[in-house]
């Protein structure tokens, strides 16, 4: 996310624009950091701000008395992994949304469309419902990694299937991919429905809660598993920005501008599958971040992907951090599934965007 370098490489950007960009960057980073600090200091367990600072300082100085305390456990084992996980997943979802909308040149495209979510949901349902039967154990005794691993592989597999369907003679048709995505989504939905039909009461409830999405149960292990999948994608996407910009003119035009269109498509779809698959695996389905963030940013910055991509990572992380903060404190000591919040806030906002008939939708 080397925005300064990006800006420097583009002499066409005027000084005023560059200043605006610098201010926006600072504002976005400040907003995220403020939310992150607020999130670390807020929760069902009341920890005074001074104590949070002491805990963090104690952790760095290796003060065993503080590191072993209950506050330290809450801050380092519950809130911090949750914050990091939420930021990673938010960034992954938003960046993937931006990539998809750019690739499909369709403002409604989101990661769910290429089959990642439905495939992941089907795989998750399979592990919840069939895992018990195949392994003959209750679900809490299943290996912890089975559900996320299944979800990840399911998302990846369905994306690859869709990709194979849409690719003829080495060329991928975006239109076929869009339509096939809808069909495969419905098919995966039917199989998931079948699984919920044969599931028992308990499994059905697990399925429901999984499909609502939650960062509850975030742990460093999860961060360690999905971080190495999401972070490389986040750092790699800016490379695609120029290509996506050219693609806005049309596929043939982009090709004639010297953009390796097929390679661009391959890269974008693989990145989305990996980032979203990992995110969905860790948190379940979290809707609307991928669709709202790119739209909001296009209103602010226009359609240039060199700005959209890094800023969507930042805004996605901020949005999910904020939503998770609300999820944790609104009904404490219980918590809301985060998917409810993102959809409840995201959907009306999206409608409002549509009603404004902003020109970015036709871009």
């Amino acid at each position: 996310m080397s925005l300064a370098a990006e800006a420097g490489a583009v002499p066409a950007l005027f000084a005023r624009q560059r200043r605006r960009l610098a201010i926006a960057t600072l504002l976005f980073i400040a907003l995220f950091l403020a939310l992150a600090v607020l999130s670390l200091g807020t929760g069902a367990v009341a920890i005074p701000p001074a104590r949070v600072v002491a805990v963090i300082r104690g952790w760095f100085t290796g003060d065993t008395e503080i590191v072993g305390s209950r506050e330290a456990l809450v801050v380092f084992s519950i809130r911090l992994p949750r914050l990091v996980l939420g930021a990673l997943i938010g960034a992954a979802l938003a960046v993937s949304g931006t990539l998809m909308q750019g690739l499909f040149r369709n403002p409604l495209a989101d990661p769910g469309l290429v089959g990642v979510s439905s495939g992941a949901a089907l795989a998750a349902a399979s592990t919840i419902v069939l895992g018990d039967r195949l392994l003959g154990t209750a679900q809490f005794q299943l290996p912890f990694a089975l559900l996320p691993l299944g979800a990840f592989l399911g998302g990846l597999a369905s994306t690859l299937i869709l990709y194979a369907i849409a690719t003829r003679e080495g060329r991928t048709s975006v239109a076929i991919m869009l339509l096939a995505g809808v069909a495969l989504g419905a098919f995966a939905g039917a199989l998931t429905g079948l699984l919920s039909f044969i599931s028992d009461d308990r499994q059905l409830r697990d399925l429901t809660f999984w499909s609502l999405g939650s960062l509850s149960g975030a742990s460093w292990t999860k961060v360690m598993v999905i971080g190495p999948l999401i972070l490389p994608v986040l750092f790699a996407v800016p490379v695609l920005a120029r290509g996506l910009n050219a693609l806005l003119l049309g596929e043939a035009e982009a090709f004639h501008l010297g953009i390796p269109v097929q390679r661009l498509k391959n890269a974008a779809i693989l990145m989305v599958a990996v980032a979203v698959g990992a995110g969905v695996a860790a948190s379940g389905v979290i809707g609307f971040v991928g669709i709202v963030v790119p739209h909001l940013l296009r209103l602010l910055f226009g359609p240039d992907h060199r700005m959209l991509l890094p800023f969507s990572a930042l805004l996605g992380a901020t949005l999910l951090t904020g939503a998770d903060l609300l999820a944790r404190v609104l009904v404490a000591p219980a918590e809301l599934p985060i998917g409810i919040l993102t959809a409840a806030i995201g959907a009306p906002f999206f409608l409002w965007l549509l009603l404004r008939r902003d020109r970015s939708l036709d871009a």
């Binding site: 069902a44 456990l73 519950i78 209750a138 809490f140 912890f144 308990r202 404490a332 219980a334 599934p337």
Partner: protein
């Protein structure tokens, strides 16, 4: 050694012995009375048992399924749905013990709570009289209230035995169909391996929906084939289903139950809670299904 010093020495020894014995005795009685715990009950049946044992003062948090007694959710902080607990939420109540039913979770949350040094105990689900009695004893042991728990468990065990005798006295077995919901005329029933199946069996009846596994929708023809003598439904607030609501549906019109207008409506948690009230619930269901006079909880309409 002079006699005087001998007396003094033995006196001193006695004093020392007594002195050391008193606190020892004190700690013994303290053990018997048990140290109060700060308990989070994850699962309605755990809450119900703790209240039945008179241990409500030790409860610092309950989950959303803790609907009985009704004051539980009013008096105690709610840590959320039992399968979607929040680690920080539970920790914020500073519990010393979390008693959870099978399937409480998510697993990572339970792990985090345990890592915070809080004792987490899981109790399996066994819907038989033996299982229910065992669960009461287990909760009592965990809450350091073994004597109370033994008393309650023995009483419940006796009531189950009495129930068994009532069952044996029944001349014929009736077929009971438990209807979970009737949304839009779609009949969802409780089949094998459901709580409904367990309570129907305890009440000395036969589950008419043995053909299905768990809670499943049944076709209209399936309802006719099940041929229930009695239809069992859950009371929901003031809107209890009336016999004409149920038997007016084509699926039910042709059943033996419709001929006798035999509909039993019971409180859902009372019926399917599988806690200390279960012998009564089974008894009430039996009384209502077989028409054995006035039943406290069941209402034959």
């Amino acid at each position: 050694m002079s006699r005087r010093s001998l007396v003094a020495a033995s006196g001193l020894t006695a004093a020392i012995l007594a002195g050391s014995l008193v606190p020892a005795l004190g700690s013994l009685t303290a053990l018997a009375q048990a140290a109060p715990q700060r308990i989070v009950a994850a699962g309605g049946v755990i809450t119900e048992i703790l209240y039945a044992l008179g241990l409500q003062d030790q409860i610092v948090g309950v989950d959303t399924t803790s609907l009985h007694p009704p004051q539980a959710l009013k008096d105690k902080p709610n840590v959320g749905y039992v399968r979607a607990l929040s680690a920080e939420g539970v920790l914020s109540l500073k519990p010393t013990l979390v008693i959870a039913i099978d399937g409480a979770g998510p697993p990572d949350t339970i792990k985090l709570i345990a890592e915070a040094g809080i004792r987490v105990e899981r109790l399996g689900e066994d819907l038989t009289p033996k299982g229910i009695v065992e669960r009461i004893r287990a909760v009592g042991r965990l809450a350091n209230a073994t004597p109370q728990a033994d008393t309650l468990a023995d009483a419940i065990d006796k009531r189950f035995q009495a129930l068994a005798r009532e069952r044996e006295a029944l001349a014929a077995r009736k077929r009971v169909l438990f209807v979970l919901s009737l949304q839009n005329g779609r009949v969802v029933v409780g089949g094998r391996h459901s709580g409904a199946d367990a309570i129907i069996t305890l009440a000395g009846a036969v589950n008419a929906a043995e053909a299905v596994d768990g809670y499943k929708p049944l076709t209209d023809e399936g309802v006719i084939a099940a041929a229930p003598d009695v239809v069992l439904v859950m009371q929901r607030g003031d809107h209890a289903l009336s016999p004409s609501d149920v038997f007016g549906l084509p699926a039910f019109a042709a059943t033996p139950a419709a001929r006798n207008r035999s509909l039993v409506s019971m409180d859902g948690l009372y019926l399917l809670g599988f806690g200390p009230r279960t012998p009564e619930a089974a008894h009430d269901l039996m009384a209502a299904a077989y028409g054995l006079g006035e039943a406290a909880g069941g209402r034959r309409q």
